[in-house]
């Protein structure tokens, strides 16, 4: 095949694409796109794929995952916020959907999107972060850690996935609940943040349990406490901050499905029904099991309540962090 013919084929395919769009048919009459605003291999992507596969079965219509990445998720979220509210473009968002608009406000910039541009369909999973320190560090319990941090404000350091990122917000919520001050060293993602604590360049890290479990088992890291409402199943002996009396230190890395606001109610109802059936699929359960991510299905008012409470905590967290250079 010559290069010319290849080009011709590509052009022909590109032209044929928009023909699919027709209205007034029972939903779904054409493929649905689920936008994961983060690259393949991240939490959003790894959650979106089994969800899409299970929904495909229930809806009997193709559901494709598209990674639209950039600017810590803002590019993909903005894309869905401004796309046609017809139920064919959905968003699989993480907690950062509540953080990004708040951060935009702090910098007085035109927000890329606002939370009101979305309607929640369902919460898929919610993974509480846990606090880990290196095994050779002096702190055996969360209490010792917090006491020491009180004695030496700004001396104990932690790495995070980036400023205003999920791992940063978790630590900030703890700092405010416990009245301590820690030293923040942002990294470019959760992977580098983990590398930093394993290499001994920082003292502590808030992380999703699945990522740090192998290092806890091999004796390199020690878990002190969790941010969840309940204890983490794989670490039953590790208390929650709630149990320790810091009730505001509640944080989850959650994943939920959203549609653009204005999506017709019958379509939303169909999607809610489909996600409810999808999370019950055995394939979906086993996929989430392998990722060691607990399924936390919530929808309707229940999800809205969870979402609102979470967004309020995060917004307050972002405001308390404020602009970094304004401090000191």
């Amino acid at each position: 095949m010559t290069a010319h013919r290849l080009v011709a084929i590509v052009v022909a395919l590109a032209l044929a694409w928009p023909l699919a769009a027709t209205a007034q048919e029972p939903y779904p009459s054409r493929p649905i796109t689920v936008v994961a605003p983060f690259p393949p291999g991240g939490v959003a992507d790894l959650t979106a794929r089994p969800v899409a596969a299970a929904m495909e079965k229930v809806l009997k219509s193709p559901v494709a995952v598209v990674n639209k990445t950039g600017a810590a998720g803002a590019v993909g979220m903005q894309f869905v916020a401004t796309s046609k509210p017809d139920g064919y473009t959905l968003l699989l968002a993480l907690s950062s959907i509540s953080i990004i608009p708040e951060a935009d406000k702090i910098f007085d910039r035109q927000p890329a999107f606002t939370v009101d541009q979305f309607v929640p369909i369902a919460l898929i999973s919610a993974d509480p972060t846990i606090l880990v320190v290196r095994a050779e560090s002096p702190w055996k319990t969360a209490g010792e850690f917090i006491d020491d941090a009180r004695k030496r404000p700004g001396q104990i350091s932690y790495s995070s996935s980036g400023i205003y990122g999920t791992l940063h917000m978790a630590m900030e919520l703890l700092s405010h609940a416990a009245g301590i001050k820690l030293r923040h060293v942002p990294h470019a993602g959760a992977g580098p943040a983990l590398t930093a604590i394993l290499g001994g360049h920082v003292d502590a890290l808030a992380s999703g349990p699945a990522v740090v479990l192998p290092h806890i088992k091999s004796g390199k890291l020690r878990a002190l406490a969790g941010w969840g409402d309940k204890r983490v199943a794989a670490l039953p002996e590790i208390p929650t901050f709630k149990e320790l009396g810091y009730s505001d230190a509640e944080f989850y890395i959650w994943a939920g499905l959203f549609a653009p606001r204005g999506t017709p109610e019958p379509v939303l109802a169909r999607l809610r029904e489909a996600t409810r059936a999808a999370v019950a699929e055995p394939e979906f359960k086993s996929a989430m099991d392998k990722l060691q991510t607990p399924i936390a299905f919530k929808q309707g008012q229940e999800f809205q309540t969870f979402f609102d409470a979470d967004a309020r905590r995060l917004a307050e967290g972002v405001r308390k962090v404020g602009r970094v250079e304004d401090k000191k």
Partner: protein, 510 residues
């Protein structure tokens, strides 16, 4: 040692089983294609194909993804040599001397040297991975932000010391690159810098669109601007293979490139492009005829091509030994393992010996597959040079745009590529080298982040760079280099670089 051999035997029994062999082969083929397509690099290739591996078992999936990874490094050299378009970011250095060789009718030889160099580097670095993974990974973890900053600065000094032509021009280009690298979200404060309201610029200018623009598009524009099309040296069939002297010239650079690439690849967060830049600089410094660099020096092709291949194995050391990602590609591969219920981490080698050793053995096999695949393809690929420019160049332009668009599905990236193409055209007219721009663009965010992380760690005290032994040694070496440079500069008004520039000028006017 005996134990390692036994384990390797286990590994080969896994890797040579037909299904695994098949997926290794598929990975290598796909990787070569991904590398050949301009703009689509290994990260994009692996990311796009990750979902396709969800249905496979863990070993097959990992073997296939690894095949794509190192296959792309092989394939990336093809378009760089034949068309001066970096197939992926790490091939930027290959563009310079590889393309110059192709212009002189040695395109076949260049492709063959790139393939053999990649093979040697790939295989030798797997030996390194196999024997040294755990201790090396532990050492690599000691590289925190201060060490990393010291290493990057040392790298910059080495490059400035070794750049060709006018030092002023090289530094100007590197500064331009560093400035371009400032675009995007400030990692430490969350500010959007120079984004002009475009959310897409939040992640900064991508290396791929900039590299394809500065090299490929600029080349096309330059050629199109000439009154008579440049004479194409048609490759003759019997000249496809490198001559004996070309083999001799490439042997030592391949060896050095392999070691350098592996060591740089191990360090968390480093990019393969740095390995190839450093290798190029080292070869130029060691060469008896540095004036040939840029004009088709065999060493300038063999070193960087080997370095970017052995860097892939190096990058897998922390991933396999410790379960920590040393860059975006290993991060995707770690995710693939988790999808399959394998928990990557320090216990992987003990708990899943079949997976680890099968993976290592499959890399030996994969490198052989790639060599067998790539050498005969040399004869096919060089025929591209027979296509007349009026047909070839528009086609390349279309493929470059498709490739750059395809990676992120972003039109902004296509615009970046086109603007950079114009900029590259102007710079070439004015006799500026564009490689330092790409290097600056890559290094700027890394240098900035590691400097500010270091200062965050030390609460603003610069002493952190002196108290930490590795950082202190690296910075000391960098300062020594600057001093040497200044001394030689003061002694002779004209150092070798200036003489070289004069020699190059003489050649161009003749």
């Amino acid at each position: 040692m005996l134990e390692t051999l036994g384990n390797l035997g286990l590994g080969f029994s896994v890797a040579l089983a037909p299904p695994i062999l098949f997926y290794a082969f598929v990975g290598c083929v796909v990787g070569t294609l991904v590398g050949v397509l301009p703009g689509v690099g290994p990260l994009a290739g692996i990311s796009l194909l990750l979902p396709a591996t969800f249905g496979l078992d863990a070993t097959r999936a990992i073997v296939m993804l690894a095949g794509i990874y190192y296959g792309a490094m092989y394939g990336g050299s093809t378009t760089s040599i034949l068309m001066r378009i970096p197939g992926e970011a790490a091939s930027v250095m290959t563009c310079i001397d590889g393309y110059a060789m192709a212009r002189k009718g040695r395109g076949g030889a260049a492709l063959a040297i790139a393939a053999v160099g990649s093979y040697v580097a790939g295989t030798a670095s797997v030996v390194g991975l196999m024997l040294l993974a755990p201790p090396l990974a532990a050492f690599a973890l000691r590289f925190g932000p201060p060490e990393y900053l010291a290493l990057l600065l040392l790298g910059l000094f080495v490059l400035a010391y070794m750049s060709s032509g006018s030092m002023l021009k090289s530094l100007a280009m590197a500064s331009l690159g560093l400035l371009l690298g400032m675009v995007g979200i400030d990692q430490m404060s969350g500010y959007f810098r120079f984004a002009y309201g475009l959310v897409e610029l939040g992640d900064g200018l991508g290396v791929v669109p900039v590299a394809v623009g500065l090299f490929g598009v600029a080349e096309i524009l330059t050629t199109a601007g000439q009154a008579t099309p440049p004479h194409v040296v048609r490759p003759r069939l019997r000249e496809l293979l490198p001559s004996r002297s070309e083999w001799r010239e490439s042997a030592a650079p391949i060896g050095r490139g392999t070691v350098l690439g592996f060591l740089i690849g191990i360090l968390p967060g480093s990019a393969h492009i740095i390995a190839s830049f450093v290798s190029y600089a080292v070869e130029k410094r060691l060469s008896k005829r540095p004036e040939q660099f840029g004009q088709g020096a065999v060493a300038g092709l063999a070193g960087p091509e080997s370095a970017n291949n052995s860097a892939t194995s190096g990058a897998m050391v922390p991933m396999l030994a410790l379960g920590v990602p040393s860059g975006p590609i290993p991060a995707v591969m770690l995710a693939a393992m988790m999808v399959h219920g394998v928990s990557p981490g320090p216990l992987l080698i003990q708990q899943q010996p079949e997976l680890f050793w099968g993976f290592v053995a499959s890399m030996y096999v994969g490198n052989v597959v790639l060599l067998i695949l790539n050498l005969p393809l040399v004869g096919v690929f060089v025929n591209i040079l027979r296509v007349p420019y009026p047909y070839l160049y528009p086609t390349i332009l279309v493929f470059s745009m498709l490739g750059v668009y395809g990676v992120n599905g972003s039109v902004v990236d296509v615009w970046i590529m086109l603007v950079m193409g114009m900029l590259g055209w102007v710079l070439r007219k004015l006799d500026f080298e564009t490689a330092p721009v790409v290097l600056g663009l890559v290094l700027a965010p890394m240098i900035e982040l590691s400097l500010r992380q270091s200062l965050a760690m030390s609460d603003g005290h610069y002493g952190i760079f002196v108290y930490r032994p590795i950082a202190a040694v690296l910075l000391g070496a960098g300062l020594l280099l600057v001093l040497l440079n200044l001394i030689s500069f003061a002694r002779r008004g004209l150092d070798w670089r200036a003489r070289l520039a004069l020699a190059e000028k003489g050649e161009e006017t003749s």
